[in-house]
Amino acid sequence: MSTQLPEEDRGRTESAEHEAESSVEQEGASKGDQRRADRDAKRQQSVSGAPADVEGESFRLKVFRYDPEVEGKMEPRFDDFAVPREKGMTVLDALIYARDRYDTTLTFRHSCRQAVCGSDALFINGRQRLGCQTQISDLEEPVRVEPLPHQDVVKDLVVDMEHFYDQMHAVEPFFQPDEESEGDLEEYRQTRENREKIKMSTRCIWCGACMSSCNIAAGDNQYLGPAAINKAYRFAMDEREGENMKEHRMNVMDQEHGVWRCQTQFSCTNVCPKDIPLTEHIQELKREAVKQNLKFW
């Protein structure tokens, strides 16, 4: 394990200090120079607030590291970063801080910072969560960040999502109405109740947290998994799709690696950042599948 204390940063602090001083001393410095000096001073403050100087105002971020290509990183390890605590700071903020200040090779996916792109699902203190949605203040220290379990690690915190996408694609994740709409400006009517019924299922952001938390999925690579089954639910329960299609969807669910694999452990439901009642949806599809089988008896 290597501990990355902001040594180079301390170096940077000194030079920033130096610059700040010298430009402040300069007589008649232009407004632009003054502004830059102020900014440097501000930056210096935030850097010297870093753990090396002030204990207690920072926390320890323990991050999984691995790179199949770079010597010294091929053996998985954890790196420690000392990150200054700020109000409202999320795990993603902390990772960005660590990357931008200490080690630009630290690799993770992220984009929206607001829990909609689904790219920063991580294993944080032993649980699948979105980095951007998780407040540091809600976590015990040290904050330990690892890639999603049960997925191949590409590098550092990045996992291979291909299998997850494949399973999503396997359930025909697209709307298939029985009849064509009546005209260019005619919508299929949908009741408020029906929309309400599918509402939660349509919130999935494909983050993969549920799949990663599922023991069964870990043991059975072909199991469709909670996200894909939820996607099927989203269409199967949409009244605009019609009965014929629903039957077809049930057939897809009612197969060896479909709904019956689920052992109602609720781990997926517990970790879903969008609060989708996944286990409930899977159960409901099981019931529907039974009903349909009875119909054909």
């Binding site: 409202g88 090779t105 929206c112 607001q114 790219s119 590098k155 400006l185 599918i198 494909w206």
Partner: protein, 619 residues
């Protein structure tokens, strides 16, 4: 080398719609995108899609509102196309299964939005963009359209002609983020840029980290003019600590803005006596900052947005997502407390110059979505008008690139007709770390120049040369093992832009910003990539993106400095009026071997059967 009829760069709303349209037209189409499509920023859109769907409304009203909202800087042919095509495109989404919110009769719901004379914003909860993005991605899956996800497009393969208007685009060069492999993509018919917004030019933004304006910067350097870049929209209701957006839907549903003295300032201080909180975004953003500057802000930084009086039922029915956002990102319970809000960068009204068919100046190169400027938003975009832009102009670009006949466009491109040049404006120092010959997409090969610069080579050859150039550029960035890192430069740039080129602008600040930008540009010459790995090298991506941000920041600032009037989102301290006599024109910026050239083209106010007369904009 990969080869397709149509290549769509970007898998957000505009890119997906373009790909589906091209596919329906019979083309072999592929999407190349640095993020998996469902990770695109369109997923963050909350409020809704404007479409004249109901009795009492029609496209002409929508067009009129949009022209007024644009402060008469939108082009009528573009605006009318938007208003005309939007209803059908919106219903098309419904027909693809998009879970819109519903009325009692089962039809899709609409709600009021700022600057609209009719409640025509069609929505799906407070997560319209999420549903739109996923619905279209589902259609892409259904059609089996090929998606190269996590491929970063780093340059366009454009022929080497002196005059950009003679150049042709034959494809792109991209690298596989997972392996670092640099490869060429040839497009037989056309390349459509749909790379999204430029929010990362700023520090406080609602935009995703991936919104670095790559497409706009690449097109610019390849010779396509950028249009109206100075018009940056600042959204009035973003959470102070993160920039996360609180949808305009909150105000649409009746949310109220208060200052620290509990005054409903939009009315009490006379900012918008008719529309109050629902005045257009530029008006509300300025009002908030004026309150803060007058000492009536909370913690000298923000104001309050209150929705408690709407009641729990209505809030959870229509704005549930807002409760989550306020809780997760600001620790505020919107049912019990007002939410703190302040203006934040939100949307780039300007972009790659295109016509109504999505075509750019360069043959075979198209653009659609936020990276483009067909000019529907002019100097101020109305809420709910970006999503229809994605589907309307995404679809048109897709169809046209696939060979469909959409008729002659009315909007002209490049330097045709009346051109006014701006001189006396300072142009920048050195172009940046990448030498002009390596970077300008038009083939600057020495051999080619020896041919008089007009060497017309086979498309394959054009792509091949671009691959070589990109390999060299990437190798150089990776081999250098000392220098400056992108994070520092990006930070510097974002801070200066946020400080100086924000809601309130004045000459001195704009000049300061320009100075900072040029310092960053110079420093960029010394940039290096620390991570030696070919596997998922985000250090490299961010470094290339940072270069794009520098070019775009400069374009925004130059345009803002030149435009000495107050129009839409562009407020100038020294120039407190809209100067129609002088400024009914678009700011155009061309990359002229590394120094921006500024010129203007007139706004088209003449529509299908009427001319839009500029009027005083009051709300």
């Amino acid at each position: 080398m990969h080869e397709h009829d149509v290549l769509v760069i970007g898998g957000g709303g505009a890119g997906l719609r373009a790909a589906i349209a091209a596919h329906e037209e019979g083309a072999d189409v592929a999407i190349v995108t640095k993020l998996h499509p469902v990770r695109s920023h369109t997923g963050a859109a909350e409020g809704g899609i404007n479409a004249a769907l109901r009795e009492g409304d029609d496209w002409e009203l929508h067009a009129y509102d949009t022209m007024k909202g644009s402060d008469y800087l939108g082009d009528a042919p573009a605006i009318e196309t938007l208003a005309q095509d939007s209803p059908e495109e919106t219903i098309q989404l419904e027909n693809w299964g998009m879970p819109f919110s519903r009325e009692d009769d089962g039809r899709v719901s609409q709600r009021p939005f700022g600057g609209l004379s009719f409640a025509r914003t069609t929505y799906a909860g407070a997560e319209t963009g999420h549903h739109m993005l996923h619905t279209m991605y589902e259609q892409v899956v259904k059609r089996g359209i090929q998606v190269y996800d996590e491929w970063y497009v780093s340059n366009l393969a454009v022929t080497d002609h002196d005059d950009p208007a003679d150049r042709e685009c034959h494809g792109v060069v991209a690298y596989d983020i997972k392996t670092g492999q640099v490869e060429g993509f040839k497009a037989r018919n056309g390349v459509i840029l749909a790379t999204g917004g430029t929010g990362q030019v700023y520090d406080h933004t609602t935009n995703a980290v991936a919104n670095t304006g790559d497409g706009a910067a690449m097109a610019y350097r390849a010779g396509v003019p950028l249009e109206d870049m100075e018009f940056v929209q600042f959204h009035p209701t973003t959470l102070p600590s993160t920039g996360v957006l609180i949808s305009e839907g909150v105000r649409g549903e009746g949310g109220i803005l208060y200052n620290s003295e509990g005054e409903r300032f939009m009315f009490e201080h006379g900012y918008a006596n008719n529309d109050g909180e629902l005045a257009s975004r530029d008006v509300v953003s300025r009002a908030e900052l004026t309150e803060v500057n007058a000492g009536r802000g909370v913690e000298d930084e923000y104001v309050y947005l209150d929705m408690r009086h709407l009641g729990e039922e209505r809030i959870t029915d229509r704005l549930e997502n807002i409760l989550h956002l306020a809780r997760d990102f600001e620790g505020v319970n919107g049912l019990e407390e007002p939410m703190p809000v302040k203006p934040g960068q939100h949307y780039e009204m300007g972009g790659i110059e295109t016509d109504e068919n999505g075509e750019t100046l360069i043959d075979g190169l198209y653009a659609a979505g936020e990276c483009a400027c067909v000019s529907v938003h002019g100097s101020n975009r109305l809420g709910g008008n970006a999503l229809p832009e994605l589907i309307v102009f995404g679809a048109r670009a897709g169809r046209h690139a696939a060979g469909a006949d959409l008729g002659e466009a009315e909007i002209t491109k490049g330097k045709t007709g009346e051109i006014e040049e701006e001189d006396g404006l300072d142009t920048p120092v050195e172009p940046g770390a990448v030498e002009a010959s390596d970077d300008v997409a038009a083939d600057g090969d020495e051999d080619a120049v020896a041919d008089g610069g007009a060497a017309v080579v086979e498309p394959d050859e054009t792509v091949r040369r671009t691959i070589e150039r990109e390999r060299t550029r990437i190798e150089r960035l990776m081999e250098k093992d000392d220098g400056i890192q992108h994070a520092e430069l990006r930070d510097e740039l974002q801070q200066s832009m946020t400080e100086n080129v924000n809601v309130f602008r004045n000459e001195e600040n704009l000049k300061d910003a320009l100075e900072d930008i040029r310092e960053v540009r110079e420093a960029y010459q010394d940039v290096y990539v620390n991570d030696p790995s070919r596997t998922f090298n985000t250090d490299l991506i961010h470094t290339i993106e940072t270069r794009n941000l520098i070019d775009l920041a400069e374009a925004i600032t130059l345009g803002a400095l030149a435009r000495d009037e107050f129009r839409g989102a562009h407020w100038r301290q020294e120039h407190q009026e809209r100067k129609d006599d002088e400024w009914l024109k678009h700011t155009m910026l061309s990359w002229n071997d590394g120094s921006p050239e500024l010129w203007y083209k007139p706004v088209i106010l003449e529509g299908q059967d009427k001319t839009y007369e500029p009027k005083e904009r009051s709300y």
